[in-house]
Amino acid sequence: MAPSALFSIPNETILAILGTLNGKDILACSATCRHLHSLVAESVSLQYAIELFACGMFDGARGPHTLSVRDRLNRLQRYSLAWEQLLWTGLLELPHFVGCRKPLTASGDVLVVQRVGGGEPKDQVSLHVQRIPSELRAVDEHRSTNTPPNPMKNAYDVLLDSSQQLMINNRFRMNSTHRTNELYVSSLLTGDAHPLASPLIFMCQTGRVDDICGDLLLEMIPGSFPQAGKFVLLNWKTGIVQADYPGDESSFARRIFVDEHHVLCMSERDPLCLRVDSLVPAGTVQPASYEFLLPEFLQKGAAVRCMIPYACTLETTPAPHGCFYPDPADRLIVVEFHATALRRQFTIDVLARTLTGYIAAHPASPGQSAVVVPWDAWGTRGARMTVLADSAMHRTVSGSRQATLTRLDGPHRHTVLTVLDYCPRRVARAIARGTAIVLHGATVGVEHTGAGFGPLRTELACIVTEIPFPFEEEDGLDRRAWICENGVLFLVSDPFWKKIVDAWAHTI
């Protein structure tokens, strides 16, 4: 075929062809030659398709009131640029945080801090809930103070459910024989108590709730040899224990991802363990639950039938061994951190696995509850990033973004915030545009992983951005950053987190 054959057809028709492709294919196509590149660069609808792809979104909007494609593209680009270059419009001062204790939890765009004192009785504990505003996403600032009716000191577990906009506050009371837990559920939007559970009183052996997803609370009861530990899943809306199944003496469940049929628990032990259980039919656990040791799990490429809901991403501090993050593109992202004290180096392994897409297309045969996903079908393979940092003071993860506060040594000691974004789609777009990956103060090397992971795929690199920490250095004070959907929150505290000295938020 003559080189010009494609270009004998009108540009409008070429655009019609490209318009049926997804963002990644459009980008690949635009890299073939100058003509296609300029066509893609000049087409608003194709740029919008690329942007949607990077966000993991589909635009089903139709109607007289929706914005034009150009306006929608502009807004999406503003939102991604705000993250990629940290071009945020607002630095929000949070004076009401000053004097509070350290943050208890953050999820989505909500942060909860605890304040002791300042009321009656003297050691009254109250919770401050702060929603970080967003002009772009039309989220207003919201602030509320929640003073428990029955104050119990130092007995707080605060869990946020950003998908349902709920705050779950677990407190426990001890008497000689057992612990009683009281669960207060309130709306993050109004502060009102949830009509179904206020308070829900239940017996709990450890006095802690480890994780929450949707309506389910996870309590992990560690065993003591020779007795095995167990997981308990409680539905707080009904008060019914949905699952009570054995773990083992050393396992410790850290995260749960639940939809109406399945529970995925990540437990932290050596080696790392990923456990997927089915809740079928509602309220019962299938007798056969599955447990995989991670290395074996990855080698065999086997997965049980599971769904990983996106909405349940909770902020956590990365575990030393690893974390699982669901991602909007139906992938399970596994991030492993390995710290080497000597070289002050930590390694992040990012493994993205497509589970649900394959499972949706190849359901289990009747009578079988497991789907074995062949290795080739797993899509994106692993990459390893080695990050050399002078000293990481604090690290926080939200979704597929990780924020690290690093103090740089040198004549002018200063602190920078580095945001790593390893969402495969955003990275793929950034690489195609040459905007991915720059670093100061820390070095990111991308290398092929060992046997079994196949060749490196470019989308597994990361987008790195950094901004200077907006506070003056004052020795002796702790600095922390929390990452949330709308921006990054900075807190400065006294050395032992007795109280917050200063608090600011960079917002989009």
């Binding site: 049926t20 100058r34 089903g60």
Partner: protein, 173 residues
């Protein structure tokens, strides 16, 4: 190339309202087709309106071969009398053209032919056929690497080596 040929209306058999059109392909083949079949083409419809205004009917010269033209006529004959949303100038354009099984089989041809058909469909303003062809061509390159796409589309890499190695300079979009 023939000069414009007048077609006398009296030569058209009086079968209902469907009159005949004379289409002339670039390889000088004369193809007679019922007007009804070709009404899916906005281009042809406009020509026919022009005939009515001047009450003169001409052969319609088309810049593609009879091979391609026959293929397009086959498509139009298949959907004769069918309503296809994409071809309705008054309807809101659908987000994506629907997948039609018959079209997929119909367009199971090599890429050169596909490109010729889509070009003809564009010329004749048959949106549904443009959509189906676009989908078929997109299917060929979907999920491929840039290098594979060049191969499939027959496109030559005309970036300079510097541009190749620094995507930022070429990729401003």
């Amino acid at each position: 190339m023939p000069t414009i040929v007048s077609v006398d209306d009296s030569t058209v058999p009086g079968e209902g309202s469907s009159r005949l059109l004379l289409l002339v392909s670039s390889d000088n083949k004369h193809i007679v087709v019922e007007e009804d079949i070709m009404s899916r083409s906005r281009f042809i419809s406009k020509q026919v309106e022009g005939f009515e205004a001047t009450s003169q009917r001409h052969a319609i010269l088309l810049p593609f071969s009879s091979f391609v033209l026959n293929k397009v006529i086959e498509y139009c004959s298949h959907y004769r009398g069918y309503y296809l949303l994409e071809d309705d100038p008054d309807a809101a354009p659908p987000g994506r053209s629907p997948v039609r099984e018959w079209d997929q089989e119909f367009l199971d041809v090599d890429r050169n032919m596909l490109l010729r058909i889509i070009k003809a469909a564009h010329y004749l303003e048959i949106k549904s056929l443009v959509g189906s062809c676009a989908r078929a061509i997109a299917d060929m390159i979907r999920g491929k690497t840039t290098e594979e796409m060049r191969e499939i589309l027959g496109v030559e890499n005309d970036f300079t080596p510097e541009e190749e190695h620094s995507p930022s300079s070429k990729c401003t979009g």
